[in-house]
């Protein structure tokens, strides 16, 4: 009897070790390329191909300065920040207005319009960017910040409307009724009551869109040919094309690209995971 308890315990411990060994191995594979990127960004052009250490003896922090100034990553960085902020603000404002109407207000054709928005989440049309390019050319918005921003705001609307509508519908009506009795108009109720209450859902929309915009490449490649307008992802490819062998500076550029997104992820991972799950369920 005692033997079988001991056997059971040993089996349990072995299983525990096996599970963690596997999980740690996979974790290392996730983190290692990033550590390698950082370590290479700190090496010199001369040592980067021969020095295989993870922690270089003489870290070249100056590489970041060079990438930022000479590599142009400073400009790309500010462009990325600008695009991310404007698109996120645009999506939150426009999507929440529409979502509030779909959840609380009455007007003819409401359901048709809502399903129209939903349809864009379901139907993939891989060639749509060609027509978008043609459209922006007609509107003289190719190679402008505005064109790049508008397209991406539109891209975030459908999911934003869906998430926020669901949230507004679940919200208790009492507060809105109280505001109405106090003489608040429809817009006032939306702006002062509903929107502040929707913060958790808005956080999901913000993060989801921030990730998408920060990582966007195809549209930036298609629409922006002026270096001063390019975001980081496009800038990385331009830099790589021009200086194929300058690995430490390229890795410094990638690090500059990655740091904001990783920081945001660590701070707000709860919302990111909620967003992925929600995005998957609707998409």
């Amino acid at each position: 009897m005692k033997d079988s308890v001991l056997f059971y315990k040993i089996e349990k411990i072995l299983g525990w070790i096996r599970d963690h060994f596997f999980l740690i191995l996979v974790s290392l594979s996730c983190v290692f390329p990033l550590v390698w990127m950082l370590s290479s960004a700190l090496k010199t052009q001369a040592t980067v191909f021969s020095d295989m250490s993870l922690f270089p003896a003489h870290p070249q922090w100056g590489n970041f300065y060079l990438a930022w100034t000479k590599g142009g990553f400073g400009i790309y960085f500010f462009n990325s920040i600008f695009y991310t902020l404007t698109v996120v603000i645009g999506v939150v404002f426009i999507a929440s207005l529409a979502a509030y109407a779909f959840a609380r207000l009455e007007f003819p054709g409401k359901n048709i319009f809502f399903y129209l928005f939903l349809a864009t989440l379901m139907i993939p049309l891989p060639g749509a960017f060609i027509a978008l390019y043609v459209l922006l050319m007609k509107l003289h918005l190719v190679n402008t910040r505005l064109g790049y921003i508008l397209i991406q705001i539109n891209g975030g609307l459908a999911l934003g409307i869906f998430l926020l509508k669901t949230f507004f519908e679940r919200m208790p009506r009492d507060l809105e009724d109280a505001a109405r009795i106090d003489g608040c108009g429809k817009f006032g109720i939306y702006w002062r009551v509903a929107l502040p209450l929707a913060k958790p859902a808005i956080a999901v929309v913000v993060i989801f869109n921030a990730l998408t915009v920060w990582n966007e490449y195809l549209l930036a490649m298609l629409l922006l040919s002026n270096k001063s307008l390019m975001p980081l992802q496009r800038g990385l490819m331009i830099f790589q094309g021009a200086h194929v062998t300058q690995y430490p500076l390229l890795m410094a550029g990638i690090t500059i690209t990655v740091i904001p997104i990783v920081l945001m992820y660590i701070v707000m991972q709860k919302y990111i995971i909620a967003g992925i799950t929600a995005g998957a369920v609707t998409g």
Binding site: D19, F107, F117, N215, L222, L236, Y265, A280
Partner: protein, 296 residues
């Protein structure tokens, strides 16, 4: 008077959806139809003249464009590897973490790190790992005494596509893991308790409870995997650019090169439509299969 008030109220309500609807009509609905219109014209994207060619673009793509079909095949190959290896890994990891293992939260954070990185970033980092002359992989192989299989992984026809697929799976498994974990956590624990009382072992519980209840999640993950893998683009641009030869060309790189490389806007639109149909069919088949499994 009352009618006027009502009209005013409805008009006011429309104002709420007006910005969204306006953008949607201009940037979603118009391009949608425009793609279909352009697909029957020959047009270089610049000149005001367009030549009507009917369905000849579609015919050409279907019957006289082996490169296109190679690119679809390449996309399908990456998709197949992702559906099997990537999603199996995701499921196994989700099962391990779902058991309430210590540090589960930390693993969750780490596994989702690669998916938040862009295709460009991931591609550029892995470029170097795979590099034939000074890549990390070859260095490791040499250290392990396996110098014989060293090669330029992304530059050789035999290994390029699989190497790209591995990068894609490295980036994607954490995403499948998160969704499958959410699915597992939705399964009521009482079911397992009851099965335990009945004397079921772990394997039986997995087969009889977990897998059947997870089928909707598997279908969802599969559909999204297909849509994601087939539309892969940035990763290709950052690693191989479609080469060597056409060995890593995928549908989106073909569409772009028709559009920008050959200035064949109409042809590119036709490719987009055919490709959209392929994606739609794949999703439909998945849904069908899941319905049939559910009935059984």
């Amino acid at each position: 008077m009352v009618a006027k008030e009502r009209f005013k109220a409805i008009f006011g309500n429309y104002l709420f959806i007006l910005p969204a609807l306006g953008m949607f009509l201009i940037f979603s609905v118009y391009p949608f139809f425009k793609v279909f219109q352009l697909s029957v014209f020959q047009w270089d994207g610049i000149m005001p003249t367009m030549k009507f060619v009917g369905l000849s673009h579609f015919k050409d793509i279907l019957f006289r464009n082996p490169t296109w079909w190679q690119s679809v095949g390449n996309g399908a190959y990456i998709t197949f590897l992702a559906l099997t290896f990537q999603n199996c890994l995701a499921f196994v990891l989700a099962l391990l973490v779902d058991r309430g293992i210590k540090g589960g939260k930390i693993y969750r954070v780490i596994f989702y790190l690669p998916p938040i990185l862009s295709g460009i970033v991931v591609g550029l980092i892995w470029n170097w790992i795979y590099n034939g002359d000074y890549g990390l992989l070859n260095y490791a192989l040499k250290a392990l005494g396996l110098a014989g299989i060293q090669r330029a992984w992304l530059a050789e026809p035999k290994t390029a596509l699989t190497s790209v697929a591995i990068i894609h799976m490295w980036r994607g498994f954490g995403w499948g893991f998160i969704i499958m974990l959410a699915g597992l956590q939705n399964i009521p624990r009482e079911l397992y308790e009851a099965a335990k009382v009945d004397g079921a072992n772990k394997w039986q519980m997995l087969r009889r409870i977990t897998v059947p209840l997870m089928i909707p999640v598997f279908v969802l993950v599969s559909i999204l995997t297909i849509l994601g893998c087939m539309q892969i683009y940035a990763l290709i641009v950052a690693t191989t650019g479609g080469g060597p030869g056409y060995h890593t060309e995928v549908p989106v790189t073909r569409i772009i090169s028709s559009m920008l490389g050959q200035s064949q806007f109409g042809y590119a639109c036709a490719m987009g439509i055919l490709f959209g149909l392929i994606l739609l069919t794949a999703s439909m088949i998945q849904l069908r299969i899941s319905r049939r499994i559910k009935q059984e």
